[in-house]
């Protein structure tokens, strides 16, 4: 008796001879995969190494010769890229299978040391002078190129965050929470512009069929940025003009919701619903507070209870719809 469940299914006749034999064979010589363990160790190694190199450059910046440091970082970068270029699969606009996780992480190491190289050049020799825009623009272009050339999603997300840095804003969740400033009008428009740009890129990625699997990264950052920008805009302006932002927010969340439904993405469907709900709730609260009545508290509490239940029902319905479509495929 290897596994009672499959014996039982076989005896009941729901499992064919062939499948049962296959399962028995696979259980006779079970393979123990250490794939994820090795991958985690690899990630840790890259993290330790790049941090260590960073500190060594930082600490010895005025003692060891700059040329030596530069040469070393350049050699490391060149080494990583040459090796990766040698073993990579030929370029294609479709998804290219990576030769293995070691390849992925060496490419990442090369990219990180390239960024250190550019940063060091600028810091020490001011190659870009005072054109700080250029100092972030060029690395960003290179990052996008590497991401597409080697087909690496991790580097694509680095490129996207660099794009944000070039535009003067932060993108990763921890920075976003820390630095979003709803009182800065220019910042709101920058975030909105970047968000819409990313959403469009994601849409084009699918539409033009260029590295279709990259669309998630564009949409992920695009959706969060756009919604956060729209909400900030809603709170920034007075009641009247703020309605424009609210309407925009609702339109965009409806569009994203429709898209998510057709593409079967639960993640974006949930985001669209939650952000849309935050928008409507913010509007309700703002309107209620203008009443200046004792009943406001009661009205507000009842609103959240009832609307919460309503949105739960809506989400449950969405889930049902999407799972039904799932089965049709």
């Amino acid at each position: 008796m290897i596994n009672s469940i499959f014996d039982k299914l076989y005896n009941e006749g729901v499992l064919s001879d062939r499948s049962f034999q296959k399962i028995r064979d696979s259980q006779k010589s079970p393979l123990f995969s250490v794939h994820w363990e090795l991958k985690t160790v690899l990630y840790l190694g890259i993290l330790l190494l790049s941090t260590g190199l960073g500190i060594i450059v930082y600490k010895n910046i005025d003692s060891i010769s700059h040329q030596v440091v530069l040469l070393f970082i350049a050699a490391l970068t060149a080494g990583c890229f040459t090796w990766c270029d040698k073993i990579k699969a030929p370029f294609s606009f479709e998804k290219v299978e990576s030769p293995g996780s070691f390849f992925d992480y060496i490419l990442l190491l090369g990219t990180l040391s390239f960024l250190s190289f550019v940063g060091y050049l600028q810091f020490q020799y001011e190659v870009f002078g005072n054109r700080y825009g250029l100092a972030t623009f060029l690395p960003m272009l290179v990052l996008f190129f590497i991401a597409y050339y080697f087909d690496h999603i991790g580097i694509l997300t680095l490129a996207i965050t660099n794009l944000a840095v070039w535009m003067g804003v932060a993108l990763t969740p921890k920075d976003l929470i820390r630095s979003v400033d709803v009182s800065d009008e220019r910042l709101i428009y920058t975030y909105l512009g970047l968000g819409v740009l990313l959403l469009t890129s994601g849409y084009c990625t699918i539409r033009l069929d260029i590295k279709r699997h990259f669309s998630f990264s564009y949409f992920h950052f695009g959706v969060h940025l756009t919604f956060i920008a729209l909400l900030s805009g809603f709170f920034f302006y007075d009641y009247g003009p703020a309605l424009v932002w609210l309407v925009l927010l609702l339109i965009i969340s409806w569009l994203i919701y429709r898209q998510a439904l057709t593409r079967g993405s639960f993640y974006f469907a949930m985001l669209a619903v939650i952000y849309g709900y935050i928008g409507i709730s913010s509007f309700t609260m703002r309107s209620l507070f203008m009443l200046k009545d004792d009943a406001v508290l009661f009205l507000g509490f009842s609103y959240f209870i009832l609307s919460g239940i309503g949105v739960i029902l809506f989400l449950i319905n969405t889930n049902k719809k999407m799972q039904r479509d799932d089965h049709l495929q």
């Binding site: 499959f6 399962i23 123990f32 250490v34 993290l47 550019v118 940063g119 810091f123 100092a135 508290l297």
Partner: protein
């Protein structure tokens, strides 16, 4: 004891195993569909993201629902007594039971959140009640850990909940700790050994009963408890923990501790032993816990002995881990002794890659941006990976 329909539950476990074989291409689509029809699961368990969304909304409803009730009853000064929180806890529990029994929710986000809120409210009410009955708040560690243990054990058994079993383990651990502490003057010296024995006994019991049909439905909790007991077995004998915690509890400042050779040996060898046994027995839990604890051992050592500067240590460690993982994955390209460096199961490829890319952007996005504003300060540039300097 389990609140869920046991037939559906065992069908769910069966279908999950069949789906695993299906994704390995060992079972055909029609067979999978036949089995699914024959073993129906009628729980309401939505997609993970919908689950998160439902959870968020449940928190909102619960928060404002409690607020609403409190507002209505405010005139009766309900907020001044713990009884009100007992009432709210019971209310949540009733809704939870209804959702699970009538609507068949099973890990839907709604039941998860209701369970946590019930637990939190009950514990809060209990602590309050205890403080007002005994008249000294904050000194009732025994009673609090005991009630936490009873409550979380009950909830984890009834709702097969992993988080609750985590609390059950921790509170049991705390209960034994406080009880032993209050036994006498030798209690602190023997504490590490008592807690180590407790962890070892829990692990031994879990391993012994792993195929026991009585705990078949608790496989998730059992895995978690194994990890917890292995970690606490190590931590209780870790040199840093024994020395610093002992100092803290006694209010002393020691240079060394008795039997320090034993604790150092424990600190250094246990992770390796976990890994060795993990490989020998092909036990993934032991292997992964061992790998995790290696980091703890290295950090403990570095805390007391600074043989080399941080950056050199980082570079050496990074190079070693890189080389190690490269060599092992090369070596295991051909399966050897039943080990392979390839994935044996496809793990929803696309989703994993996306998650991995977000981790990369989070941990490396601080790399190499020149910082224009501070360019006159030496060393102002931010080189290298971010987010790792804290622990070293």
């Amino acid at each position: 004891m389990i609140i869920y329909n046991k037939v559906w539950l065992s069908n769910l476990f069966l279908v999950e195993q069949v789906e695993e074989k299906h994704s390995d291409n060992l079972i055909s689509d029609t067979e999978l569909n036949d089995i699914k029809k024959k073993y129906p699961v009628n729980f309401y368990s939505p997609n993970i993201f919908i689950r998160i969304g439902l959870g968020i909304l449940t928190v909102i409803i619960s928060l404002f629902g409690c607020g609403f009730l409190t507002l209505i009853a405010a005139d009766a000064h309900v907020m001044e007594s713990y009884g009100w929180f007992v009432f709210l806890a019971v209310l949540h529990y009733i809704v939870l039971e209804l959702m699970v029994r009538q609507k068949h929710h099973f890990r839907s986000g709604i039941d998860d959140v209701l369970l946590w809120i019930t637990a939190a409210l009950s514990v809060f009410a209990f602590i309050w009640a205890l403080a007002s009955l005994t008249g000294n708040p904050g000194e009732n560690y025994h009673a609090v850990s005991a009630i936490l243990f009873i409550l979380s054990t009950f909830l984890s058994i009834r709702f097969i909940d992993r988080l609750m079993s985590l609390f059950a383990y921790l509170s049991c651990f705390a209960l034994i700790f406080f009880t032993w502490e209050s036994t006498g003057s030798f209690s602190l010296d023997t504490m590490p050994f008592v807690m180590m024995s407790f962890s070892a006994v829990v692990y031994w019991l879990l391993r012994k009963n792993i195929h026991n049909p009585a705990i078949y439905f608790y496989s998730g909790s059992i895995t978690l408890l194994q990890v917890l007991s292995l970690i606490s077995l190590y931590v209780c004998g870790n040199y840093f923990v024994v020395k610093e915690l002992g100092d803290m509890l006694r209010g002393t400042e020691s240079v060394s501790i008795p039997l320090d050779w034993l604790f150092w040996m424990w600190t250094m060898t246990i992770p390796l032993l976990y890994i060795i046994f993990g490989i020998k027995q092909k036990n993934r839990i032991l292997l992964r816990t061992g790998l995790l604890l290696i980091a703890a051992a290295v950090l403990t050592f570095r805390n007391y002995y600074h043989l080399i500067p941080v950056e050199v240590a980082l570079i050496i460690a990074g190079t070693i881990t890189l080389a190690f993982s490269y060599l092992v994955s090369q070596y295991l390209r051909q399966p050897r002794n039943g080990f392979t460096s390839w994935e044996t199961q496809k793990s929803g490829d696309e989703d994993w890659l996306n998650a991995e890319s977000l981790i990369i952007s989070e941990s490396f996005s601080g790399s190499g941006h020149p910082q224009p504003e501070k360019s006159n300060v030496f060393g102002g540039g931010n080189f290298g990976g971010g987010g790792s300097s804290g622990s070293y």
